[in-house]
Structure formats: C-alpha cells, structure tokens
C-alpha cells in the first residue's frame, strides 16, 4: 500500500472535500483499501501471483433527501486525489438536482468516532511460501494465500470519524488424493490469523495429509434418503451464512423475502439449542457500517430458538418507522456467532452412531424461501459412520433441507468447541470478518440426489 494512505491522509483528503460543501449539502466518504499479495496454488506449485495495492473511496453526496453515490480508486497522491474527489462532488451537485426526492433517504446524523488497529506478525512473503512448500512437499495441493494489510475508514460532514485496520493472512487450501476406485478425493483446510506460526502450519498440513489416508478407501454408496448427520463447523458456517441472504433482514421480512418469516411472525420456532448473535467482540470486522453508525458490540438475533431482533438499517428504520440497530444497508450478519453446546469432541462419532459425518457443504441456495429450504452439496471429506466408527468416504450427495429442521426440530446436539471460520471472499477486495460456529448433530437430514 502507498505509505501515504493512512489515517492522516484520509483526514486531510476528507477535510478538503467537506469544506467545499454548501448549505443543505451533506457528505459521507467511505474508504477501503488493501495491500495484499494473493498467491494461487495448484498441484503444489504456484499457479498465479497477484500483488494488489488499492485504495478506494465511495462518495455519498446528499441534499434535501436526494442522494448521489460515486466510487473511485485513489492514487495515493494527495493533490490529484483531492482534485478527483472535488470534481466528483461537483458532478454530484449537478446530478442530485435531477433526482426525485427519496422519502427514505436519511439525513446524516452520526458523529461517532472510533479507532481500531490490529497489527500482525507476518513474515516476508518468501518465508511464508517456503513454509508452505516445506510443509506440503509432494502433496497435491490447491489453494490461495492472501496476506497483508486492509483498512476501512469513514468521514462525514457531521464529524464522524472511524478507522479500522487489520494485518492478517489466510491460507485456504485443499489436498487431493485418488481412492481405490480411481475417484478424486480431497480434504479442505484453512490456516488464518494475525500471527504466522511455521510450526502450527506444518502440523496442520501434516494432520491433513494423514487424514487423506482415510479418503483412499473405496467410497461407500449412500442412496438419497434421510440420515443422521454430524455437520462440522465449516458446514455449519455455510448454513449460518444463509441467514444473511435476507433471513434476518427487517426490510426483507417486510417485503416478503425473509426465509424466517414463520419464526418472525411466531408461527414456528427453532431449537432451544440454537442461539445466534451478531458479535463484534472478536475484532474481525469494524463495528461501524458504511454510514458511520456503530452497532452494539453484541446483538442477540435468535436466543434459544426465539427471535430477539432483526437487523435493521437506518433506511428500513425510516421506511417502516422502527428503531435501527446499526445494521449495514444489506441487513446481513457481519460477525455471526452461534452459541456452543455440550457435545464434547470424543463423543461426536459415538453420538452420531450410524449416519454421515460432513465436513463441508458447497453451493447453497434457497430451494423454497418460504419454508427456509436450502439445497446444496456435500463436498471434500465426508464419511459414512457406523456404530460410532468411520467406515468409508462417500460420494458427494445433494441435500434439500429446511433451516427449521436443521436448527429446529431435528437439532439433537451442539458441540462445545466452536471454530472461527474466516471469511475468504476476495471479490474486488479481500473481505473482512468471519463466523464463529460449533458443529451440530442432526437427527434427520434429507438427501435427494
């Protein structure tokens, strides 16, 4: 990242923009940037390497309930960045007059301030790559290493000033083998954090290589039908992510697009074992949203199967006359935490008995929104278990199940251990955040293909 792109740079740039505002005009400047190296692996070799230094500002210009938003990449050279932003503000000033009034456009009211920085201890890229090469030598490995600094910042014309900076890495990878029948089999893993530890990485990859041996056995054919399943934390994280597809959004519910309509309206409930909280205490993601509003550190969403609150943005607040709770405009979860339970690790397989042990799910989508039904696939290391013992890997299966069953009537137990599953999305820029979830035991889970 351009070393000039820091808090002071953003402060000066924002001041230069805000001081040009005329009467009734309001401005929010939403900054994001990263200095990331992305290294893609295939077959245990580097496939593509991309170094990205990018700084972007989204300029929201408001006047009399009319709003124009421009986004632009910054150069890191102050004089030209100020000129660029001022030219866009001038253009917004012209364009805003031709827009109709937006009744739900909120005046800028927030003036909060925050400053949060998380420094990492991350070695040079060549050392990270050497560690990966050493730990995975001769393994058929595919994956992505993303490493470096990210920041988010807000300045507005009411004085709001927020800064969030994070220095971290993730190595999202999978290891491959071929089983006795000639089928490809794989195991998926994630090594992520702020402090790189060569030994921990090596141990993790060696564990994975050892686990691959279990996948070399012939597949057990599992026919479509209903089975007991244990879903590991990665699989649970994929299901929890679906709550952000409108399910816990106040606006989506009012528009008829929430999968949890029947929970919200009291027609159905989830299991008393299921509690979900928007919890920012882990520091994976800023508490401020793109308007500069700061959410409570902890927002209970579902408590023991009952709805506590929906995520409500300022826009929904104005449209439906309800209180906002600092949600982003998309009203999705930014830092979900599912409560742990009492099932201890040594008991996972024994409690499962006979059924499927599923580590990962893939390509989830609503198959029937109104009944919160989701379809998707099993993926990577999934096993058939009999009487508490792993018998064989399975061929991937398609499931079609409702959240009201998985986290409701069929939820038998929740593990005591939770895992933080970092967000590895990198569309446009590396995402922040992640979820903290346990594993779950489900009594009856439907597979269809």
């Amino acid at each position: 990242m351009n070393t000039a792109m820091n808090k002071r740079y953003i402060e000066v740039l924002a001041e230069q923009c805000i001081k040009t505002l005329m009467a009734l005009e309001e401005l929010t400047l939403n900054f994001s940037g990263e200095d990331q190296t992305y290294v893609r692996f295939n077959g245990g070799h580097i496939r593509q390497s991309t170094s990205v230094q990018q700084n972007r500002v989204s300029i929201t210009f408001q006047q009399s309930k009319r709003r124009v938003i421009f986004g632009i990449d910054l150069t890191g050279e102050l004089t030209s960045d100020v000129a660029l932003c001022l030219s866009l503000i001038e253009r917004a000033r012209q364009e805003v007059n031709i827009l109709p009034e937006d009744p739900y456009c909120s005046p800028i009211e927030v003036s909060d301030q925050s400053d949060e920085s998380h420094k990492g201890e991350i070695p040079q890229l060549e050392d990270q790559l050497a560690d990966i090469a050493k730990a995975s030598s001769h393994a058929d490995l595919a994956g992505l290493l993303a490493t470096g600094r990210q920041y988010r910042a807000i300045r507005n014309s009411k004085g709001a000033s927020h800064w969030f900076e994070n220095e971290s890495f993730f190595f999202d990878y999978s290891l491959y083998t071929v089983n006795d029948q000639g089928d490809n089999k794989a195991i998926k893993s994630l090594y992520a954090g702020r402090e790189w530890n060569s030994g921990a990485l090596s141990d993790q990859i060696q564990d994975n290589i050892h686990q691959l041996a279990q996948l070399r056995q012939a597949n057990r054919t599992v026919l479509p039908g209903s089975y007991r399943v244990f879903l590991g934390p990665s699989a649970v994280a994929a299901l929890v992510q679906m709550f952000s597809w409108g399910a816990v959004s106040y606006g989506a519910w009012r528009r008829g697009n929430s999968a949890l309509k029947k929970l919200i309206e009291g027609e159905m409930s989830l299991s008393p074992l299921f509690s979900l909280t928007e919890d920012f205490s882990g520091g994976l993601v800023p508490r401020f949203n793109s308007l500069g509003e700061v959410a409570n550190e902890s927002l209970p969403i579902i408590e023991k199967g009952r709805l506590k609150q929906l995520l409500t943005s300022t826009r929904s607040s104005r449209e439906y006359a309800v209180p906002a709770n600092g949600a982003e405009s998309s009203e999705g979860l930014r830092s979900p935490v599912m409560d742990s339970g009492t099932l201890e690790r040594p008991d996972y397989l024994e409690r499962l008995g006979t059924g499927l042990y599923i580590n990962n799910l893939h390509y989830l989508n609503w198959s029937d929104l109104q009944s919160a039904r989701i379809t998707g696939m099993t993926r990577y290391a999934c096993f058939w278990v009999e009487n508490g013992d792993i018998v064989a890997p399975i061929q991937d299966l398609r499931f079609d199940e409702s959240l009201f069953r998985v986290f409701g009537s069929e939820l038998e137990a929740v593990t005591h251990e939770q895992r933080t599953v970092m967000n590895t999305d990198t569309y446009g820029q590396r995402s922040l955040g992640g979820s903290k979830v346990p594993g779950i035991l489900v009594k009856d889970f439907k597979f269809t293909l």
């Binding site: 309206e265 696939m377 991937d396 293909l449």
Partner: protein, 340 residues
C-alpha cells in the same frame, strides 16, 4: 404487492498493448435490467420478474428501454405474481419438461459453460468453484447430449452481453463449436490453458478488472437453434411442465448433480398448456439430462440473456457472460414443488 425496477448502465473502455506488438482498444456499453413484482396475501408470498432478476443483460442503448413495450410486459409480470398466489404447487413427479430461454441461460451456464473451462479441467479451480467431470480425453469423444445439442462459443454476436473482439491476452475471440450434434469438440480455454492441456480452445482469457489476473472465463455460450417450436413441443407432450425464469441454482463442484428452481410454471396436459403452478423446481445429472433433450426451438424463438454475476477464481472475480437459446424439451425429468 411490491414492485422493483432497476437498471444498470456500464460504459467500459480497454486499451491493450503488449510487448508482442498487440495494440487495440475495445469499448462496451452494457445494460442490465430487473423488473420484479412481489405479491403477498394471507401468509403466501410469490415473486415474479421479467425473465429473472439478473437475466436481462445486453450490449446496446435506448432500444432496450422502449417504454410502451416495457410497461406492457411489466404489467404481465405483476399479473403473474398475483396468479401464483392462487396456484397449486408444482407436482412432485417425473415428466417432460420444457424450459424457456430465460431458464436455458442458467442450464447452459452451469452444466455446459463451467465444466468446459480448461482451467477447471486442469484443477486450478479445485479449491474454490470446483473441478470438472470432463476429462482431457473426452474432447472429440464424449457424447455430452442428444444429437440435437449444438453449442457454440459466440463472442462476435452483436448486442450479446459478453461479445468482444480480443480476450485479455490479445487472443482473437472467434466463434467455435464446443459441442456439435451432442459430441464434445473443444473447451473454453485461451492460449495458456491450451498449451498446458494440449487441447484446442477459444479466446476467453479475461479478468474482471485491473486488480485481477486473467483466467479462462465463459463469454457468450449459446445453444444453437433447432427445427422445432414452443407450440410444437407443447403439442407433443402428454404430461409435462413448462418453466420460466430462474430463481434458484445449485450444482456440485464437478458440475454433475444440479437442482434449479424457476419462478413460474404451467402444466402441460394432453398437448395443451393448462394451469399455472408455483415453486417449480427440477433436478438431474448433466450428461443424462442433456441426453434427454428431444426438441429444440427454431431461430425465431432464439433469445439472448446473460448475467453480470458469474463468480470464479482465487482471488475471486465477477464477470459478465451471455447465453442465448430457444426453448427446449427434455424428457422424463424429476420435477418438484415446495413443502406444503
């Protein structure tokens, strides 16, 4: 009833210069539209849109904003959303299935486009979007579907969403048959993947922007017109379902087992379209599904759609694709509705 209207206009310019002597510019004006109605009554909610929320994508201008035509078709969207509230659920059965072009776009995209990407076949995508059931030895040999199946890479179609002259390696993008009379001929990979795999490909090395390296991407992947028509297909079906407009999609990482849902369905009984059914879904496995293709509509019913949101790659890239198709008839497909 909630009504939603959205339009996105993107003006894009690219100037490509390489040390090998390439020097060219390309410009695009990209249009995406969404016209959607959400109807609710007595706890029932149904959503209907014009061709699906992300399908109306083209290159062009104001010809796509002809007001009278749009208002008329949007009125139909609203009427159908209301009609769905009173409709029965799609039955759970096996029957013949006719897919409209605005659902064929998704069927082509997921079960033909992605599995034919050479970088997927090479395993580059294994840790993210997935691998492919297609093996290098399948090119020239695999019978992918019935002999009515003719699929082209068509980057030069005027007005289609993912048309371009050169890819991001400077490779000319030219029309080529990927599948002819059901037989797999070539995959979707540009110069680098062609060399790595020793297979022919096409000019499709593309990046989503300046901050991402190019990889093999779909462009326009089209099912070529056949000789049937929607009316002829309907008349030929004793018991079946007609489905329009995608609303749900999921497929495995090898691109075999898929399940897709549509917004709007109508039963076909004794050769006639009869009552509307809500929540229509179908599932299948790629090669058997395409093998069941038994009729393909003609050129007059060939319609182009697309999406700006095809995701792939590590780091991730979102890119535009286009898919054109006439309506198609598939035999003996598993269809189903929602929980009741």
């Amino acid at each position: 009833m909630t009504a939603i209207a959205e339009a996105t206009l993107v003006e894009s310019h690219m100037h490509y210069v390489s040390s090998q002597g390439a020097n060219f510019s390309q410009s695009w004006l990209l249009i995406s539209q969404n016209f959607q109605a959400i109807a609710a009554r007595d706890g029932e909610v149904q959503q209907r849109s014009l061709n699906g929320p992300t399908a109306r994508c083209w290159q062009g201008g104001l010809e796509h904003f002809e007001e009278d035509h749009l208002l008329k078709t949007c009125q139909k969207v609203g009427e159908e959303a209301l009609a769905l509230l009173d409709a029965d659920n799609c039955p759970n059965t096996r029957c013949d299935l006719i897919l409209a072009p605005d659902q064929m776009l998704l069927q082509i995209h997921e079960s033909i486009g992605h599995p034919l990407e050479l970088d997927r076949i090479l395993g580059d995508e294994r840790n993210y979007a997935g691998w492919s059931f297609v093996k290098p030895k399948d090119f020239g040999h695999l019978q992918y579907g019935s002999n009515l199946m003719n699929v082209t890479y068509a980057p030069s179609n005027e007005g289609q969403f993912a048309s371009f002259k050169f890819d991001d390696s400077g490779n000319p993008a030219e029309r080529a048959f990927l599948i002819k009379e059901g037989r797999l001929l070539r995959g979707l990979g540009s110069l680098e993947s062609q060399t790595r795999l020793g297979q022919p490909g096409v000019g499709n090395f593309r990046s989503s922007g300046w901050n991402r390296a190019p990889i093999d991407r779909m462009g326009n992947i089209n099912l070529e017109p056949g000789e049937s028509s929607l009316n002829t297909m309907i008349e030929s079906v004793e018991s079946g379902i007609y489905m329009e407009s995608n609303r749900s999609w999921s497929i495995d990482d090898y691109r075999n087992k898929f399940q897709f849902g549509c917004e709007f369905g109508r039963l076909i009984e004794q050769g006639r379209l009869t009552k509307i059914v809500k929540n229509p879904n179908y599932r299948g496995v790629t090669v058997p599904f395409w093998t069941s293709l038994s009729a393909v509509g003609g050129a007059s019913e060939h319609q182009a759609f697309g999406t700006p949101y095809c995701g792939k790659g590590e780091p991730n890239q979102m890119i535009r694709v286009g898919h054109a198709s006439p309506p198609c008839l598939f035999q003996n497909i598993e269809v189903f509705g929602a929980d009741v």
